[in-house]
């Protein structure tokens, strides 16, 4: 088991935990600012995505994207070895980490071997997953986020609320306030002024950083190339200015060939932000070569497992690993839109988080996440690589109540004798049609399914009223009246 147990988050940082999903969601729902910020942002993102795919055969492209990811996963062990060999041949040193803690240690050791005191980071969710910043701080190494959203979240002592737009929970006024409080920037509502101020602050830090840490969007096995998709140029600065670059990625981000990248890139940018291209697309294939004037002298790649190889063992759960981290599922999720990213208490919020986090943290921690979906299907509909997210949510519900294959840590944790008995009761009733037909007593019996919880329905709605009669009874009467009045069958009145 390689569950993320090393909690190194420092005091003071606003922390959320999936165990408290209900409370956190309650707080978010009661916060009109949070509600408004997410609604506005998600509406905008949904429109942009739709418009950006307007002239594309989206279904064909999604099919292609899904197949590329499926092919990569089918060959994953071989591709990882090939990636390692080709990276090493290119001069990129490859490290394997079984879990987040080991990955943190590898990164720290690289930093220490260079006497590094200052690390500048490009956006990387896998380093959020392992709490790298806090780990490095404890080792006396300062880690500074350089993605604007991550920078704001770090200044505000928070965690990202979205995997693509970490500070999406903040509006312009709140951002202005944070920049003012933490950096002395003059208060303004002008986004360009704020961006320019943050850029200036970050530029100075880039020049002084000893090590740059970035994520990876696609790691190409065929060529040993690390692709990084970004808009702010901070990714390029992070990976070229400091003398050492450490790229960190989950093992699932590998693709087979260079030609696999353009379709995935086309899907990623449009699904995420509705962009046809991003401002920067970096392809890192080696450290600085002899005679070159810039680029890092050392490039490292840390491949992190952290539960992924366990997901890989299950042919259904495997689909979780197709994800290219575009965030479209959260942008389109009616639950995420209302409760925001922090309520989930996980690195990855929203639908993808609810199917991934149980593997990373165990079902005991995350047992409320697979049920935090109405199974409306919006996530699966927009997923660029066609992950059957609703089916995987149901699969995890099965695992939670101990009716799955037991391949998820904490399987069975949600099973209670009472609920199991209630569903057995439902089964008995629904497989005894004569009893079922006995009629109106059935709703009363079904109501007993979740006696403690069904009451909450009526806090917001009137109670469903069992009809005085059943369809079974109506049909019987209807058929009887038809046989008596064969010519009048379409005009009869039911009592």
């Amino acid at each position: 088991m390689s569950l993320q147990s090393h909690d190194v988050r420092p005091q003071g940082v606003q922390t959320y935990t999936p165990r408290e999903f209900h409370h956190q969601a309650h707080d978010a729902l009661g916060n009109p600012q949070i509600r408004a910020n997410f609604r506005k942002a998600m509406d905008g993102l949904m429109t942009k995505r739709r418009d950006s795919f307007a002239d594309w055969d989206l279904e064909t492209l999604r099919e292609l994207g899904a197949n590329i990811r499926l092919r990569a996963l089918a060959k994953l062990p071989d591709l990882l070895e090939q990636l390692e060999a080709n990276c090493e041949a290119n001069g990129i040193r490859v490290h394997w980490a079984e879990d987040g803690e080991q990955a943190c240690r590898i990164i720290r050791e690289i930093c220490e071997s260079h006497d590094a005191r200052s690390v500048v980071k490009g956006k990387s969710m896998v380093t959020e997953e392992m709490h790298l910043n806090a780990y490095l701080e404890q080792a006396g190494i300062e880690a500074l986020e350089s993605d604007l959203g991550e920078y704001l979240v770090q200044l505000n002592e928070q965690t990202p609320s979205h995997i693509i737009m970490p500070a999406i929970h903040l509006n312009t006024d709140e951002i202005s306030e944070i920049l003012h409080d933490k950096t002395g920037t003059e208060r303004t509502r002008d986004v360009d002024t704020m961006t320019a101020a943050a850029r200036q602050q970050l530029r100075e830090r880039f020049m002084a950083a000893d090590v740059g840490v970035s994520g990876v969007n696609f790691a190409v096995a065929e060529t040993g190339t690390l692709c990084l998709v970004e808009n702010e140029g901070n990714g390029r600065m992070t990976t070229t200015v400091p003398p050492v670059h450490i790229a960190v990625t989950g093992i699932e981000k590998v693709v087979e060939q260079l030609r696999d990248v353009p379709p995935l890139y086309a899907l990623l940018t449009r699904s995420a932000t509705g962009q046809h291209v991003t401002t920067y697309f970096n392809m890192i294939s080696s450290p600085r070569k002899e005679g070159e004037h810039d680029g890092p002298k050392e490039v490292h790649l840390v491949l992190v497992d952290s539960g992924r190889s366990r997901i890989y063992q299950d042919d259904e759960l495997l689909d979780t690993l197709r994800c290219i981290r575009c965030g479209a599922c959260m942008n389109h999720c009616p639950v995420y839109t209302r409760v925001g990213g922090h309520s989930y208490g996980t690195t990855y919020p929203g639908p993808i988080g609810s199917i991934l986090s149980p593997h990373l943290m165990g079902l005991e921690e995350t047992k409320d996440l697979p049920t935090a979906s109405s199974l409306c299907g919006a996530c699966g509909e927009v997923c660029p690589v066609k992950i059957p997210i609703p089916d995987l949510l149901v699969r995890l519900r099965r695992e939670s109540v101990g009716e799955g294959r037991g391949n998820v840590p904490g399987a069975g944790v949600k099973r209670t004798r009472k609920e199991a008995a209630a569903w057995k009761g439902f089964q008995w009733l629904a497989t005894h049609p004569a009893v079922w037909r006995a009629g109106t007593s059935v709703p009363g019996k079904l109501r007993a399914l979740m006696p403690a919880k069904l009451g909450v329905w009526t806090d917001y709605r009137t109670a469903p009223k069992p009809a005085g009669t059943t369809l079974h009874a109506l049909v019987k009467r209807h058929q009887a009246s038809k046989s008596h009045q064969p010519n009048n069958k379409s005009h009869e009145e039911e009592p």
Binding site: A25, K414, V456
Partner: protein, 251 residues
């Protein structure tokens, strides 16, 4: 998107699977659906032993219990007639999830065969019956709420509106974010009541703001949820199952 489905020509008989919500809470909608089908000259068979498709247990993770309940339904449709279901949710369960539920069991081929004959009511009326409607009701502004299962699982976003568009006196009004879930989601509404409430609140607001006097839907879960919210707010927007609405205005 669901793959293109080829529809059969209208059959002499159909099976009607009423669903448990219709059976217990909205039986009139079931009867109205039957009468709409009969008016098209179809004989409607109602297997008496039908109970529930098993979905509540299925989506709660109780797979064995769901399979037992579903198994009891599989034998109810022995002849090759279409199976018409007045719900996208139960229809989606039977068409999409029965094959998954029975994969690798000795009922697999039967489940696939039954699943292939399942049609949601509005789908069947539009694509198989090519239903033509004469509106005899008063002028009215109506919003359609297509359930998520009908829309996404069964690919039927167009079927309900296509039927309503035939009603000359009915103005179909567009609500904001019409494709968004109403927050029912079966046990979701009881497991996450506050989130569900926030969703249905937005849905009723959108329908009311669209100027609708009534909303119709093809799923009784949504009807119970949205209608129950309107009723509790004392908002004079009525909810109705599309089968009852169509029957009432054209009979």
């Amino acid at each position: 998107m669901t793959p293109v489905k080829f529809y059969p020509s209208k059959s002499e008989k159909v099976y009607f699977f009423g669903t448990c919500l219709v059976d217990l809470f909205y039986p009139q909608a079931g009867l109205d659906a039957i009468r709409l089908l009969e008016r098209e000259g179809i004989e409607v068979l109602f297997p008496e032993d039908q109970t529930c498709c098993g979905q509540p247990a299925y989506t709660s993770g109780y797979q064995q219990e769901a399979r037992a309940v579903a198994t009891a339904q599989l034998d109810l449709f022995p002849k090759p007639w279409p199976i018409v279901v007045p719900s996208g949710s139960c229809g989606g369960m039977m068409r999409t999830h029965y094959p998954q539920l029975f994969a690798g069991t000795d009922r697999e081929s039967q489940a696939n065969e039954v699943a292939g004959r399942v049609y949601e009511l509005t789908e069947f009326l539009v694509h198989v019956c090519h239903l033509k409607l004469e509106d005899s009701g008063a002028p009215e502004k109506v919003a359609m709420h297509t359930s998520c299962s009908a829309r996404r699982e069964m690919g039927l976003a167009e079927a309900g509106p296509a039927l309503l568009a035939q009603l000359g006196q009915v103005e179909l009004v567009e609500q904001a974010r019409g494709a968004e879930c109403c927050g029912f989601g079966g046990t979701f509404a009881v497991r996450h009541p506050e989130v569900s409430a926030a969703m249905v609140e937005d849905k009723t607001t959108a329908i009311a703001e669209a100027g609708a006097q009534r909303f119709v839907t093809s799923d009784c879960g949504c009807l119970m949820n949205i209608g129950g919210r309107f009723e509790q707010q004392h908002t004079p927007v009525q909810g109705e199952h599309i089968a009852s609405y169509l029957w009432r205005r054209t009979s």
